[in-house]
Symmetry: C2
Subunit: 312 residues, 2 copies
Amino acid sequence: MTPAPVFERLTVIGCGLIGSSVVRAARESGAVSHITVADANQTVLDRVTALGIADAALPDLAAAVSDADLVIFATPVLAMGEVMAAIAPHLKPGAVISDVGSVKGSVSEAMQTAAPAGVHIIPGHPIAGTEQSGPDAGFAELFQGRWTILTPLASRTDDAYAQAVAQLSRFWRALGAQVEQMDERHHDLVLAVTSHLPHLIAYNIVGTAADLEEVTQAEVMKYSAGGFRDFTRIAASDPTMWRDIFVANREAVLEILGRFTEDLQALSRAIRWGEADKLHELFTRTREIRRGVIALGQESAEPNFGRDRGKH
Amino acid sequence: MTPAPVFERLTVIGCGLIGSSVVRAARESGAVSHITVADANQTVLDRVTALGIADAALPDLAAAVSDADLVIFATPVLAMGEVMAAIAPHLKPGAVISDVGSVKGSVSEAMQTAAPAGVHIIPGHPIAGTEQSGPDAGFAELFQGRWTILTPLASRTDDAYAQAVAQLSRFWRALGAQVEQMDERHHDLVLAVTSHLPHLIAYNIVGTAADLEEVTQAEVMKYSAGGFRDFTRIAASDPTMWRDIFVANREAVLEILGRFTEDLQALSRAIRWGEADKLHELFTRTREIRRGVIALGQESAEPNFGRDRGKH
């Protein structure tokens, strides 16, 4: 028994890992009746057509959105204001406009600035992903058991908007996600901690290792099983997507990076002075957090990471 | 057809993740005829007996090593000098003494200081592991396709020693590892990059996240799928083992940490000034290194990480 669709027509703009996962999950769940993909890159459109995951794949944004009940932006975050400007004149009144970007404050502002009246902008962010990119990397199960955070506009207190938020929440739940609402500034700070700083650190450490004179790059790769390998996986994420995230969430990232650096200096000092007890105390404390992550189920089915292991 | 054993009697001192994996792999491969485990912790000995992975499990170091042809230290690195002092009077002449510690320079020195004449000290390090600890966490396949680095003593140029090194290399190959020889100082620098710094950074970031006032610990755990989760796994590694590593390899760790911090400051500056091209260039470069790791096969079968996913 298939439940009734949550939205009739969905248009996803940008069909990389996340976009194509939304498309696949929306189709498999029956959350929508019709799916259009729009992408500026003809190679991506050709892959979408070949994969047969959407009903239509178009290069023209105006044509792609004109009938859509739900439009989801899945482009790098700095492109979202421009995309909104391009589609604004063509949107259906009452359409719900959302996105999957990892930064919400600046993106929300850019979308609002360019939006027409009569649509419902509801910024969103599914906390899920792998280090892979492109339409072939997506899979329908990506959002299962993961959290999607919505950051509804504080300025919109009308009933129609509240209904649109409820409808978008049902959509994400149909895709397998758990849905939470959050203030956009708070979202950006939380994600700076749980995602942006970890990526920044991984990019940095892999870069440092590559530039050493005393240790060759071949050695670094050969002996990566000691821990470094996990960093290389994170640091293999899409460069354009991450460049945009750091620029768009600069303030929160620098704030958290400042704390991290302070702590690292203290840790460095403890090593220099051989303060074994201090080290042991920190290392014991961090273990507890791991237990918390496992207890909350955020270390669980993750098809792509699982698939990746042992295949290459 | 089982090949002839490489050593007759093996004694492993300390039976945690690595020690018990050596024991399991040595038995399954037929690399030795008889296995004794020694551990100061009676609970560990009881588990070893219950698991039936060794022929004998003893609390008494003297009794455990007196007949051994190969003795492998698998304790935290700072304990190794003391262990050597305790067993020195009881070692068989010609016995091969090795270890699995992640630091070689200071460990080698401590072992040599306490060693009797007539034995062959060959420090060693299998580059393999998981974040789990204890005798139940080990598995026979841990070393398959991984590298074991031996750092033979430069002072020993005699034939008997060279033969002992060749024999120990055969032992590790029988356990599935690839074997490489390296100068101990170079080993410590390479490992500072590929293992010690990644662990230090992971411990630090998880600690930073735990101490934030604006973001709760519950939020950090809940939204950890964005990248943070991988750091919590690394930061769940055994606290005593890692405390010892940072104290024992202080010099190389601080050297590499200095480079990392410099690079991080430059990256931080690029974010502050919105230097998008610089960010994109780094993020593209680090992706290449990931490809190298995959090409070298160091991202492959890793039973425990695989098993861990989706089970808790």
